[in-house]
């Protein structure tokens, strides 16, 4: 099986540690991710104004490219891209007048009506592969790892595009359980990290991070599991500032869900690019015996 795949700009630079373990893992699971040809930036945030169609052009153009690629389903990894693409798709499906205006303006020779299905990789794992099948593929169970799923905003809000129950999401927890880890639920798992406010008010970011990290820590989490490169950046930056301020915090490792997937599937740390993580998880993973000497590492050393 192969699915159209939309990486997003950040996954090609700062968040290669989100993308590369995912691509490797899906291949190991027998699913090829076919990158959409000539994709452009998704627009990152969905425009909320009724008359602001120009900001719908970027996501819709990508969806048209998926249709041109001959695919009916599109997978994303970045939570921001998922949100923007999925909402723009819904607009194209539901609003006939706007659909026509956008199709005419975009002028790609294809009339698009929202027919591509936009999925997050977690949905593919849950609904196509299934937790049970996934757990059978696990070569290195993440036993003893108390990881807290952090959803943030864009996977779950608004309700129409949520990949799971808005109030009580379980998909990341179920995913971790399938990999053998012990998920730690905490009440702030869907609280916003500050998002793009870091651009205009970087000084506020630590205070966005504080309740999230405090809550995860007090519920016994050893690490936070993320799906979004902006959550990674803001929480990583926020916690560094909190530590600097001497608030008694110990650094909480931040890990992308795809890195844990690759580790559990036995692909080794070289697929994970841990050097790019904002909260470094390597010492924790070593402590849990989850960073095996891999064949390629041995070869290099030998």
């Amino acid at each position: 099986m192969s699915l159209a795949y939309y990486p997003g700009c950040t996954l090609k630079t700062r968040a290669r540690n989100l993308e590369e373990p995912a691509v490797a893992s899906m291949e190991a699971l027998g699913l090829k991710l076919d990158e959409v040809p000539r994709w452009n930036c998704c627009g990152a945030v969905y425009s909320l104004a009724d008359d602001d169609l120009i900001h719908q052009v970027a996501p819709v153009r990508n969806l048209i490219r998926v249709k041109k690629q001959g695919k009916s389903e599109l997978v994303t990894l970045c939570a921001f891209c998922l949100n923007t693409l999925k909402r723009a798709n819904l607009l194209m499906k539901q609003d006939v007048a706007k659909r026509d205006t956008l199709n005419d303006f975009i002028d790609e020779g294809i009339d698009y009506g929202g027919e591509v299905k936009v999925l997050h990789l977690l949905e593919v794992l849950r609904d196509r592969i299934g937790w049970e099948a996934l757990s059978r593929k696990v070569k290195l169970p993440l036993h003893g790892l108390r990881a807290a799923p952090y959803y943030g905003c864009t996977l779950l809000r608004p309700r129409e595009i949520a990949i799971d129950n808005v109030e009580n999401p379980t998909v990341l927890g179920d995913f971790l359980r399938a990999l053998g880890a012990g998920p730690v639920d905490f009440p702030e798992s869907t609280r916003c990290c500050g998002s793009y406010q870091v651009v205009s008010s970087p000084g506020d970011i630590a205070e966005y991070a504080r309740p999230i990290l405090n809550s995860a820590l007090s519920h016994g989490a050893e690490a936070l599991v993320l799906t979004c490169p902006l959550c990674d950046y803001n929480l990583g930056r926020g916690q560094k500032e909190l530590i600097k301020k001497g608030s008694g915090f110990k650094e909480m490792p931040l890990i992308y869900f795809t890195q844990l997937l690759a580790l559990a599937l036995g692909l080794g740390p070289q697929a994970c690019h841990f050097e790019l993580n904002h909260g470094g998880p390597e010492s924790l993973l070593k402590e849990k015996n989850l960073l095996p000497q891999t064949r390629s590492v041995q070869l290099i050393e030998g």
Binding site: C9, T13, P158, C192, Y196
Partner: protein, 139 residues
């Protein structure tokens, strides 16, 4: 939240025009809100706001453009939609915040100037932060 609760309703001409524009841009019925404050209670940025999210709706439906324009609230909103999913009236406050932002941005007034972001930050921030920030805070 530091502002006094008292509100002066002026009979200014622009009042109805402002209400009309907010309604048009947001697609929201401002009268739906019954001021329960769930939006403020769920807002992760409320502590940084001078006017609470709940009061923004009230000011908007009274057409008090100047009070809203003088507040930093809509610029602090991160469009996380915690207000929207928790509203018992199905009201999407995030859309109202966006409408009010656009009324300023469309006058060619930017909240953030890309050139004022320190170069070190520009190189450090992930692209999604820059794209979103510039979309929400520049016109």
């Amino acid at each position: 939240m530091t502002k006094k609760a008292s509100v002066t309703i002026s009979p200014k001409k622009s009042r109805r025009e402002f209400i009309k524009k907010v309604k048009e841009l947001s697609g929201q019925n401002l009268q739906l809100c019954y001021q329960c404050g769930m939006c403020t209670g769920n807002c992760p940025a409320a502590a940084n706001m001078d006017v609470s999210p709940r009061r923004i709706i009230e000011l908007a439906r009274l057409g008090l453009e100047e009070e809203i324009a003088g507040s930093r609230t809509v610029w602090v909103c991160a469009s996380c939609l915690a207000c929207a999913v928790n509203c018992p009236r199905g009201f999407d406050l995030a859309r109202v915040m966006e409408a009010i932002r656009l009324l300023t941005l469309r006058k060619n007034v930017d909240r953030v100037r890309p050139e004022d972001i320190p170069p070190q930050e520009r190189g450090d921030l992930p692209q999604i932060a820059m794209v979103s920030g510039l979309r929400k805070l520049t016109g």
